[in-house]
């Protein structure tokens, strides 16, 4: 599937997913060892996206199981189609009468019905849910169990069984074994800690917020139209923003949303006012927005001074920003934006 770790990086890169060696190593090992991967990390860093991209890169069909509180085996594995069974018995009533004809005792009648058991407990009446679909698929698939932390601990125990040997027992039909072991990705937002038993069966991958360089590369890949300078400013503001004590720290997906919003607004550079107006794209809590509004001046101020010193170091490879002269930062930047 993959030749090497670098091959993973390259193949995911072709699908516009930029990742470092850490992610690639785990994906490579998962494919080699046929082990499920438990992906943890803050919301919006691309955990689910990773599974989707691996599916695309390997050409496997993606089977997704979204977890939620109260999810049970019937929704995840299989269910007998009760109404259909009932409907069939209703329609076949007369046929039954035929079968029964001649039965003299109750025991005899029950015996005859019993012989037809398999008609009603067969594949025809099973509704396969994602887990069963992944196991019984004819071609190798990729199973994504999303937000596994939202499921109940009880379900987790059941999942263990499936993940350890990829086989499922349906009492009436027998044991179904996977023809091809699916590649399994479990994602978790750490709403609760998963059990040790589950973790033991999985490779563990923790995706953190990307560093500045990686984030910039991701941004440029995912939002192709963006100007380099705007992208750099945006990423550096995001990096600073994450250091503030916020209720919900903005993530990669927010960076991309913001970039697209700015692109739609035809913005050419980030100013205090513009940030102020578009803050609700990246921050989802009123309290966070208020808190950040007080800091905007500092966010840009630090950026522009930082930018100056960097420019000096590299020998001004970039033309100096005409609208943000060095000091005193806050007010001058504001003025710069106004024209």
């Amino acid at each position: 599937m993959f030749q090497s770790v670098d091959d993973v990086i390259q193949k995911l890169g072709q699908q516009d997913y930029i990742c470092g060696k850490d992610i690639a190593t785990v994906v490579y090992l998962a494919a080699k060892l046929e082990k499920p991967v438990l992906v943890e990390g803050p919301a919006g860093v691309g955990k689910t996206e990773l599974a989707k991209v691996v599916a695309r890169a390997t050409g496997r069909p993606l089977i997704r199981l979204q977890c939620y509180e109260g999810l049970d085996e019937a929704k995840a594995l299989y269910e007998w189609e009760y109404s259909k069974q009932l409907l069939y018995t209703q329609i076949l009533k007369e046929k039954f009468a035929e079968t029964m004809a001649g039965a003299t005792t109750l025991r005899d009648a029950a015996e005859r019905v019993g012989r037809e058991d398999s008609v009603f407990f067969s594949d025809r009446f099973i509704v396969p849910r994602p887990l069963l679909r992944a196991i019984s698929a004819d071609e190798p698939s990729l199973l994504l169990i999303d937000e596994v932390d939202k499921s109940d601990p009880e379900f987790e125990a059941f999942l263990l069984e499936v993940l350890s040997d990829f086989q499922v027992t349906v009492p009436e039909v027998g044991t179904l074994e996977a023809k091809h072991r699916p590649l399994a990705f479990l994602t978790s937002n750490d709403a609760r800690e998963m059990s040790d038993a589950l973790k033991r069966r999985c490779l563990h991958l923790y995706i953190d917020f990307p560093d500045e360089e990686l984030e910039l590369r991701i941004l440029e890949t995912r939002v192709p139209g963006i100007e380099q300078r705007l992208a750099e400013e945006l990423v550096s503001v995001m990096q600073r923003l994450r250091k503030l004590d916020l209720k919900k720290t903005p993530s990669i997906s927010e960076t991309l949303d913001w970039a697209r919003a700015l692109l739609a607004l035809n913005a050419r550079e980030l100013g205090e006012e513009l940030i102020n107006d578009t803050l609700n794209v990246i921050l989802k809590y009123e309290g966070d927005i208020k808190k950040t509004q007080g800091e905007i001046g500092r966010l840009i101020a630090r950026r522009s001074t930082g930018g100056e010193s960097e420019g000096g170091d590299t020998g001004a490879s970039e033309s100096p920003a005409p609208s943000s002269p060095p000091a005193p930062p806050a007010s001058s930047v504001k003025r710069g934006v106004l024209h």
Binding site: T25, S83, L86, R200
Partner: protein, 472 residues
């Protein structure tokens, strides 16, 4: 290599991570699949197979650097320095080449070099590292316990390496080379270089020994710190510790919630509800297409918390409130009162505020009471009895947090008796140990008859135990 990984897994375990045998086996298998030439990939492979909790990642990183690479780097540095100091006209590589040529000319069998000497001459630091590790193992360095043993184990490791014999061999090699045509200057430089090599070796071994000691101490310290936070008394917490404690409380609360959700689920589905089902399925000609089950009623308690917020118990109150509000969905209703001598309700504060802000505000009296007075439990209970007794019914659990130090006021235990009669149960958490109850101005003994459970609650461990029992 396998041995090294096993030792590393042991190290991780000692610092409090849970690495099972199956997981270290996974690590072996994973490494088989990879080219371990790349340090980063090697590290990632170990991490994804052995470390399964994101909290442990920083510890892993630190231990990894200590264990795997740093020694090799140090070794390289030591020998690079030894090379640089060669000074003079002769650089080290030229010298080594000269030695190689010289050695070829020497009659075979005339020199008998030890493993160590060969490694030193070829400057193969990987092999040297292996030799040092092996010697250290034989010397028993992993048993090192304190600073005073560093010298001892360094010496023993050097002995195991056969350093003395090797030094001798190198010196005689220089002598032999001199006889076979090396210039005096070159031979002297060679001797000096060998000396420096031996010195670098000595330093590296010492460094290795120190490192070994550090590894041992590192994990114990970590563990100690983590445990002690659970057992640290609430009386003396720094700001930093309070902040850390908050996270611990959040985790504990989450764990309790998990357990509860299992307990609840077992009870959830009730019997088939025949009557409603028939009615619902009337449209299908009485054939029961839809099955209906009676839902069991959930038995969630109501909770009334009375918190003493005088400075002596403020921290207990703080964490108890955080606990209770993190577990809100386990209760039908929570009402929270604070008191010092007067009593007031702070429930509304929790409605429109972030939980931590709300607690800070509640501890400050929540705008309803004056916290700068002396504790008077009797009066507080009296006010509650007078104004809020109606809030209590037979599904209500009353939780009192306080040290019952009443400053010699009237305890008015009859108020608590009436509360006790109406409530499902009354729990009392006291930060003082039971042996102090009833002594001095403590009136705990007066209240005890009207309390179902009274517990000492001085640290997080006790607190979480109580919370767990409360919800059972």
């Amino acid at each position: 290599m396998q041995q090294k990984i096993i030792a590393f897994a042991n190290l991780l375990r000692k610092s409090g991570m849970r690495v099972s045998v199956a997981e270290s086996l996974d690590a072996f298998v994973a490494l088989d699949e990879l080219s371990i030439g790349d340090r980063e990939i090697f590290k990632d492979a170990l991490r994804c197979t052995m470390v399964k909790r994101s909290d442990d990642i920083p510890t892993f990183n630190e231990l990894f650097d200590r264990y795997w690479s740093a020694f090799y780097d140090q070794l390289r540095e030591a020998f690079e320095q030894a090379g640089e100091n060669a000074g003079d006209a002769l650089d080290i590589e030229a010298l080594l080449r000269a030695v190689e040529q010289g050695m070829e000319q020497l009659p075979p069998g005339s020199l008998d070099l030890s493993e160590l000497a060969k490694v030193l001459l070829s400057q193969d630091l990987n092999a040297l590292e292996q030799l040092i590790r092996q010697a250290a193992r034989e010397a028993g360095t992993e048993k090192i316990e304190n600073m005073l043993q560093i010298g001892f184990f360094t010496r023993r490791t050097m002995e195991q390496l056969g350093s003395e014999g090797t030094g001798e061999q190198l010196r005689s090699l220089a002598g032999q080379l001199r006889e076979s045509g090396l210039s005096d200057a070159e031979a002297d430089a060679l001797l000096a270089m060998f000396e420096r090599f031996m010195e670098a070796l000595r330093r590296s071994v010492r460094n290795y020994t120190e490192r070994e000691l550090e590894q041992h101490n590192f994990d114990y310290m970590e563990k100690f710190r983590r445990e002690s936070l659970l057992e640290k008394s609430f009386y003396n917490l720094s700001e930093e510790e309070i902040r850390k404690m908050r996270e611990v409380v959040a985790r504990l609360a989450q764990r309790i919630k998990n357990v509860l959700s299992i307990r609840k689920r077992r009870l959830k589905r009730g019997k088939l509800d025949l009557r409603t089902m028939l009615r619902r399925n009337a449209g299908h000609g009485g054939v029961p297409f839809e099955l209906l089950f009676r839902e069991r009623r959930k038995d969630r308690p109501k909770l009334v918390i009375l918190c003493d917020v005088s400075s002596s118990v403020a921290n207990v109150s703080r964490f108890m409130m955080q606990f209770m509000y993190s577990l809100q969905e386990c209760f039908t209703k929570i009402r929270c009162f604070v008191f010092v001598s007067e009593l007031g309700e702070v429930t509304p504060v929790f409605k429109d505020k972030d939980i931590n802000d709300a607690i800070t505000k509640a501890l400050d009296g929540g705008d309803v009471i004056n916290v700068y007075t002396r504790s008077n439990f009797g009066q507080a209970f009296h006010i509650f009895w007078r104004d809020h007794l109606a809030a209590i019914d037979n599904k209500t659990t009353v939780l009192v947090l306080g040290d019952a130090r009443n400053n010699y006021n009237d305890p008015r235990a009859w108020c608590l008796r009436d509360i006790h009669n109406k409530a499902r149960d009354v729990l009392w958490l006291n930060p003082e140990s039971p042996s102090a109850w009833g002594f001095g101005d403590s009136v705990m003994d007066k209240y005890l008859p009207h309390v179902d459970v009274a517990e000492e609650c001085r640290n997080l461990k006790q607190l979480s135990k109580i919370v767990d029992r409360l919800l059972l």
